[in-house]
Symmetry: C2
Subunit: 146 residues, 2 copies
């Protein structure tokens, strides 16, 4: 039997969150956190709505997942996020000891890769899932902003 719960499956849901952000005039980044194929947190960027630079999709998802689990470590969890996490979110993911991070589009300017290189040694990193759609949505957003 084919596995329904692929990385693409969950990234699609993160992407839908990013579309919601787009519609709310927020930089369109969406995230979900999955534990045993169950979505335990879902969030999108809310920095404008909350006037808070810390309100990135990943930060909210980390807080929400820890709240759901009743513990602050996200072992056995996977974060799906449409854009490469920034340094702040990379630092938060480090503290969370999350098992796996899957992101869509790369962010060469602000992404964690160029600045801190890696996350926690326990964290597997996968990139490029739905890359084109995720990066296209970002481009579309900034084009409209001009």
């Amino acid at each position: 039997m084919e596995n329904l719960f692929t990385d693409e499956y969950f990234m699609r849901i993160a992407f839908n969150e990013a579309v919601t952000a787009f519609e709310r005039d927020e930089i369109p980044v969406g995230a979900v956190i999955v534990c045993n194929n169950k979505i335990i947190a879902k969030a999108h960027n809310l920095t404008e709505t909350l006037t808070d630079v810390t309100a990135h999709a990943e930060m909210q998802a980390i807080t929400s997942a820890a709240n759901y689990l009743g513990g602050k470590y996200l072992q056995d969890c996977t974060l799906y996020v449409t854009l490469e996490p920034c340094v702040m979110c990379g630092g938060a993911l480090y503290w969370s000891q999350i098992s796996k991070v899957v992101y869509g589009a790369s962010d060469e300017k602000r992404g964690f890769k160029a600045k801190i290189g890696e996350l926690h040694p326990k964290t597997e990193i996968i990139s490029g899932i739905m890359e084109n759609e995720c990066s296209q949505l970002m481009k579309e957003f900034f084009l409209r902003k001009r």
Copy 2:
């Protein structure tokens, strides 16, 4: 007339926040954000109480200060924090474009300096204010934990 509002003056208040954290069995880090010599945010580490790795003193102070100001950028603000900010908090401070960051004790292992080197180009960084007291409080905490 002597200036009452020195870096030591505000660091002392951040230190008192760290002591509160200590008493609550939280890693003893405290922070205040000051704008025109007025304290607009005050926080201490709450990662255990909230079971949330993102609940560092600085993160809460940034959110709280932005809330007070009604805007997400912390220009003309200074953060006083008892310990060198980590990568997550360094990333958040970058996004906030805060004018000045003053910290007490250095954190060679987890601090932003070793990992990302700098904050926002607009941000002045001062270190070593009340360094001994701040680092002594941390040492005392971890000694008790053994």
